[in-house]
Symmetry: C2
Subunit: 161 residues, 2 copies
């Protein structure tokens, strides 16, 4: 009910393939890094990829419980922390929510375009933005370790679909 999906404005796509691809990439990344891709971690990643909208930790928790599984907040946060540590999930700071990484296994910057109408978040890896940020920081002698770049507004479809 509350979560009946507003139209997904991301160009139509085969979302099952989308999720399968994410899970396959996850297996690869973990194998390469000698990390364990457990059943729980897989399920949490799957839930994060349920849509292209950022999802909150407690929403993930509810879905785990709906699976019949016993779960508490640490269950979710541990899995999310792991998935973030290996670069499979990003945290959206302005929403306290999590989203699957669009470029798993690749070194990349990310910038998010978050639609406040349909809720979707698109991850960019825009070199001009990354470059401008790097220059701005360097100019002030600042050594960057982490970047949060989140633009909120209206996606192309919602703005005037």
């Amino acid at each position: 009910m509350s979560s009946s999906t507003p139209h997904l404005h991301i160009a139509d796509h085969d979302h099952a393939k989308c999720v399968a691809g994410a899970l396959a990439a996850a297996r690869d990344v973990c194998a390469q890094r000698g990390e364990r891709f457990t059943e729980l971690r897989g399920r949490v990643l799957e839930l994060v990829w349920e849509s292209h909208r950022p999802i909150g930790a407690y929403a993930i928790l509810e879905r785990l419980r709906a699976d019949g599984r016993s779960a508490a907040p640490p269950t979710v946060y541990r899995a999310l922390d792991f998935l973030m540590s290996v670069g499979l999930v990003h945290r959206i700071e302005s929403l306290n929510a999590y989203i699957g990484c669009a470029h798993p296994g690749q070194r990349h910057a990310s910038q998010f375009l978050i639609c406040t109408d349909c809720g979707t978040a698109v991850e960019l890896d825009d070199p001009a933005v990354a470059g401008a940020l790097a220059q701005a920081a360097e100019k002030r002698g600042f050594k960057v370790e982490a970047r949060v770049v989140e633009l909120s507004g209206h996606c192309a479809s919602c703005a005037q679909g």
Copy 2:
């Protein structure tokens, strides 16, 4: 104790003047917009400007109580919401904290450089960054309404002062 100030790496400056300037600008902004700059709002703004480090809502709350004033969380959040609504304070999403705006009363973009060593946050209004972001969004037909740009790392002084 816990909050004994680590060295402030912002180039030495007369911070009293810094705070006084912020309060004066605040009066102007509120007068221009027909908003009331109450004693509480002034005190909260002063506390936000206590240093150039982002400060949490509950830290502000403690200081209000230390003044002998009765205060609860809504006291602080109302004042912060007001100050943000008139552009005198920014929220740092990646820290759940608040900082005084460096360009009150002016239309500006802002990007923050947050030092994880000394805690200071510097607000930039870098046109190249703003331009690159605007272009990246426009290219995808995205209408931007709000921007969160926060780089964490080491400031020039801390990196190798």
